[in-house]
Symmetry: C3
Subunit: 271 residues, 3 copies
């Protein structure tokens, strides 16, 4: 069996587990993608909760298989819930996925994820190349607002440094996704050039990291499998889409329907 | 004329009234479904307003045919508007539809709808089985986060108790919807197994209850007709959908286009 | 060359500039349309940021080609960011597009845009007929909540007065769009009767005004070209749509794919 076969087996095992167990994934996320990431999680088979109510965070973390913290909306009423929620997750051993949306675009967007990472245990950090490079300490990393002008490959060394510094997996989304943790690195090919034209597909990758984290205790594998699911579903959707609007809908359909043949035929992981 | 014919006649009469009058439906709702429930109301023929600005609640209630209060986002800035808005609706005789999203999933989500119901006059309460069972006093009702693991039929007795306690109609959504008020009970069949895989279709049912409440003074009928509209549109959409993504879009199209033949042929109400 | 040809040339020039430069458009907008207007901007070729975090407004304005202020959500946590953001835009010479959603529907929705306009330099104000008539001082302008019951033509004189009072362009959306500034007026025909059945397409027109404002220093032209893009994309989408749900998706596809033939064949501007 080649490595690609083994990876496909593992993705399929985790996908089956998500569909069988419907793990609760708690999301403190931005108001651009609450609907779309909830739909992606439901389509995949998870059970999403979207909340930023401080009062219920500890209770909700207690019933969740993973916590996703997405910094797309950095308004105070959203930020207030993140630290208590993450503290509850640390205490309960619930894996946490962090998305530093727009790190580098403003001081607040750079400082907030670093402060959270300094105080808590991360399972996976997922971002685009600019965001990951910024968190790793490279000031002025190539960003255009919340979009990246760098490629994931440009961020490889800094992603590995970040992963080692916070003892987590780091996933860098781009035309090619890069996943690393400890000594392991993988590149995930596939997807579609239309994907960056749909808002929040990066945030969707983060949410799917949460679903895989809920069924797989290895952060590298969970991040890798989420990236594979994104690339495979994106490619399946692109086969039917005429633009970014129709792509998004077929993407949910693909997350819902993708099966063994889809994964085995479309998986393109390079190690 | 059979009962089914009479129900179809009544649904068609209300649907025509919504499309003719375009009643304003004011929604204090959660940030996951603001867009999707507004789209469902527009597709059906109503004129939605989405707001949680305390300062304008009394004015907006004054121009509204119904008020929908959805507890999906229980953050303080959302909750603050609910009590004043409902008080204005009580004073003006505007019917109020309450959706206790996630009741049972956290203390806050259980206590908030009960406190609102204790102080105000409800027209319809709509939820899934777990939420309705929780409100009726059954602690630990089968819930998985904001999703239910119970069926609507399991909630029948508790739904009737809740309806009698608050003198309103109660609608329990599920594979089969259950609607009750006073001595009346109805079951609504149809829809599609894909519907729970689209986020916020429960909230959409609540919003449609608001549209029907704006044109029908009987809470049982308004709730029943909204459930019929959901099941018929869901079934029409499923005929064209390949998954939850395409289902959602065809669902709006169906709400917009559904006519006499669709209702008469697909309506499946059991009393 | 006729005027229509010249207009088509200018639209195509601006569209090419947006697609080549991907200007950052910063949006302080309502929670109904954050996702959909971001998707429209991405489909057109711009790079949207959605935020209402006061702390980062000056920084984000500094990297933006235009600022869009949309008053759909008039809750305090949204309003707080608008004045500082607009002040930063004034100082930096960044064009600002204002959408007075629901002006006339509540005191707050009428007073807020007028207070903002009194203190800042507007580039474009875009609204429906009721909203524009309200801002121009006509109390009780025909509104139904956030929807208009008046036609854009009814608002022509008041729109011109508003444009002159605030030295900006005014765009009035409707079955026929009306754009005016100084002595210039244009009517834009096309689109589809389904468009008002999709929530937030007015807000989408405002967002597109931001994209065109980022590449065209003339407010009248920027507003006109955004209206043309809306009407052309709406018409292209309607050719493939069976209702408001599918219309919205094909609309994004059309913004993404529309090219020279689409613009030249479908542009219907009357001066």
């Amino acid at each position: 069996m080649t490595k690609a076969d083994a990876t496909a087996d593992n993705v399929l095992r985790d996908l089956a587990a998500i569909r069988a167990k419907n793990p609760v994934v708690l999301n403190i996320t931005n108001y651009v993608v609450t609907n779309t990431t909830a739909n992606a999680l439901l389509a995949l088979g998870a059970s999403p909760i979207m909340s930023h109510a401080v009062e219920e965070m500890a209770e909700l973390v207690g019933i969740s298989g993973a916590l996703v913290i997405n910094l797309g909306t950095v308004a105070p009423e959203y930020l207030a819930a993140m630290d208590p929620a993450w503290a509850a997750a640390d205490a309960a051993g619930v894996p946490v996925v962090l998305d530093p949306v727009g790190a580098g675009a403003s001081t607040l967007r750079t400082a907030t994820p670093l402060a959270l990472l300094a105080g808590h245990k991360a399972f996976i950090v997922r971002g685009n190349a600019s965001e990951i490079m910024t968190l790793a300490g490279k000031s002025g990393a190539a960003a255009k607002g919340v979009d990246s002008t760098a490629k994931s490959g440009d961020a490889a060394d800094l992603a590995r440094a970040l992963a080692n510094r916070f003892s987590c997996a780091v996933a860098v989304s781009g035309e090619v996704d890069l996943v690393c943790a400890g000594q392991a690195t993988a590149l995930v090919h596939g997807g579609s050039a239309l994907m960056p034209r749909v808002t929040g597909l990066g945030c969707t990758a983060t949410a799917l990291c949460g679903a895989f984290a809920a069924v797989n205790p290895d952060p590298f594998e969970a991040a890798l499998h989420a990236c594979v699911a994104m690339k495979v579903a994106g490619e399946m959707a692109a086969d039917k889409a005429a633009g970014p609007g129709t792509l998004q809908l077929h993407f949910y359909d693909a997350l819902y329907s993708m099966g063994e043949q889809d994964i085995r035929q479309r998986l393109k992981v390079e190690r």
